[in-house]
């Protein structure tokens, strides 16, 4: 094998993609040729260094901006034409998940009260959920279930708060792009939502198991996420100079 042939194949040697007979030829040549061995070592080092390069992470708030652009895109509107306009699918899913968790909490709470010390008996003709109908379910297990579901609720609330914090940061950084009158309307809407969040939290403080209070809190958090997403979309439209798009969003904000 000549050095020219070896140079053409040495990359495939370090990639491990050479057929066995060719690999043996290249390895034999590299064993006796210092220049080709040096090339092989350098290629291998470059490949190792490249594979070890860090992968920079996209900024936290970037998804929110993409989601905002998707929401204002005709493709999204086409796909969601049959859906109620004020609900994004993401918010809808989250709200549905939150509601589901609330239902589970309520169920778990009822089960705990029914099966725990001093709890009521099962009513004739009504079946409890299979997982909790067994008499050997220990009250300690029920307490763990309640605790686990409550921690999931706290987690869901944490997700909302994280999303809100990210959105607020983006909105704050771009607030100058908004017309003062529109900014005032947004602030007014946010104040109403914040009031609802505060009231729901106060209600939950006195009645932690209250399902209406939990639903109210998650609904208010969902509304805040949605409003902040709309705000960021509006800022993008303003920055792009799309007056028609911006006007449509402002109209929606005034209705919310």
């Amino acid at each position: 094998m000549t050095c020219a042939e070896c140079r053409e194949l040495v990359g495939e040697l370090i990639d491990g993609t050479l057929a066995p007979d060719r690999r043996a030829d290249v390895q034999a040549h590299v064993g006796v040729c210092a220049a080709c061995r040096s090339l092989e070592e350098d290629f291998a080092a470059i490949r190792r260094a490249a594979a070890g390069l860090e992968r920079p992470a996209p900024p936290d708030g970037l998804w929110m901006q993409i989601a905002g652009r998707i929401k204002s895109d005709p493709a999204f509107k086409g796909r969601t034409a049959a859906r109620p306009p004020s609900w994004t699918m993401g918010a809808r899913w989250l709200a549905a998940a939150a509601t589901l968790v609330v239902v589970v909490v309520a169920l778990a709470w009822m089960v705990f009260r029914g099966q725990g010390p001093g709890g009521g008996q099962e009513q004739p003709g009504r079946q409890a959920p299979p997982a909790t109908r067994q008499s050997d379910v220990a009250s300690g297990g029920d307490a763990q279930l309640v605790e686990s579901v409550e921690s999931e609720l706290r987690l869901a609330e944490g997700h909302y708060e994280k999303a809100i914090a990210g959105l607020e940061k983006i909105a704050k950084a771009n607030e100058r792009t908004l017309d003062p009158q529109v900014a005032a309307t947004l602030q007014k809407n946010l104040t109403v939502i914040d009031q609802a969040i505060a009231e729901s939290r106060a209600a939950l403080g006195s009645q932690p198991e209250s399902r209406p209070a939990q639903e109210s809190l998650f609904e208010a958090l969902r509304r805040k996420v949605s409003l902040l997403q709309d705000t960021i979309v509006l800022m993008n439209e303003m920055r792009k100079g799309d007056q028609a798009g911006a006007a449509r969003i402002v109209e929606g904000l005034n209705k919310s």
């Binding site: 090339l39 350098d42 260094a49 390069l53 652009r69």
Partner: protein, 182 residues
């Protein structure tokens, strides 16, 4: 996929979470700066959302997204070059065209080698850079790169080979900070 096509943004968010880091990383290195990469990552995912119903499953979703991303990046680079009347400062075969890293008597430093490698990659011609990033950084196979870049598998191999040769020439100008030394 069906949920995405039904307008479920949360399903599309899952797709974003799975693929955003690698596409962002690719865009950063193709474009040479994070700010442009952030803008283009938005464009890439918006385009992916619009074109989702064009995805036929003939390649993996990751390959399809890489292809979209690479097209967006290359279009951007070409329009930027056209706008700026840019003279591309690429590495020639012998490493000219980019200032080699300053020599140093200190032992090789991994961080410096990494920075030099990033600079070397940024100075590669677009075709070489794309193939090298996909192969040596992202770890894709040549047949996948051929699909992503719309080139023959043999062309992918030769582009990666060229990129390695150019980077080697670049590093060999500064023996104390070669990738080999790291």
């Amino acid at each position: 996929m069906a949920r995405c096509l039904g307008g479920d943004v949360s399903a599309f968010e899952e797709l974003y979470r799975q693929h955003a880091a690698r596409l962002y990383s690719l865009a950063c290195r193709m474009l040479g700066n994070r700010s442009d990469a952030e803008d283009l990552l938005q464009d890439i995912f918006l385009l992916a959302y619009r074109k989702l119903d064009h995805f036929r499953g003939e390649s993996t979703l990751a390959t399809w997204l890489y292809r979209l991303a690479m097209n967006v990046c290359l279009d951007h680079l070409r329009s930027r070059a056209a706008r700026m009347g840019q003279v591309t400062d690429s590495l020639d075969d012998d490493g000219r065209g980019i200032r080699a890293p300053a020599g140093s008597d200190s032992p090789p430093d991994r961080a410096l080698v990494r920075l030099d490698l990033e600079r070397g990659i940024a100075a590669l011609p677009e075709g070489c850079r794309a193939a090298f990033l996909l192969h040596d950084v992202e770890g894709l196979e040549h047949h996948e790169i051929a699909t992503i870049l719309g080139i023959a598998e043999g062309t992918s191999k030769s582009q990666v080979h060229k990129a390695r040769m150019k980077l080697r020439a670049f590093f060999r100008r500064t023996p104390s900070r070669t990738a080999t030394g790291a």
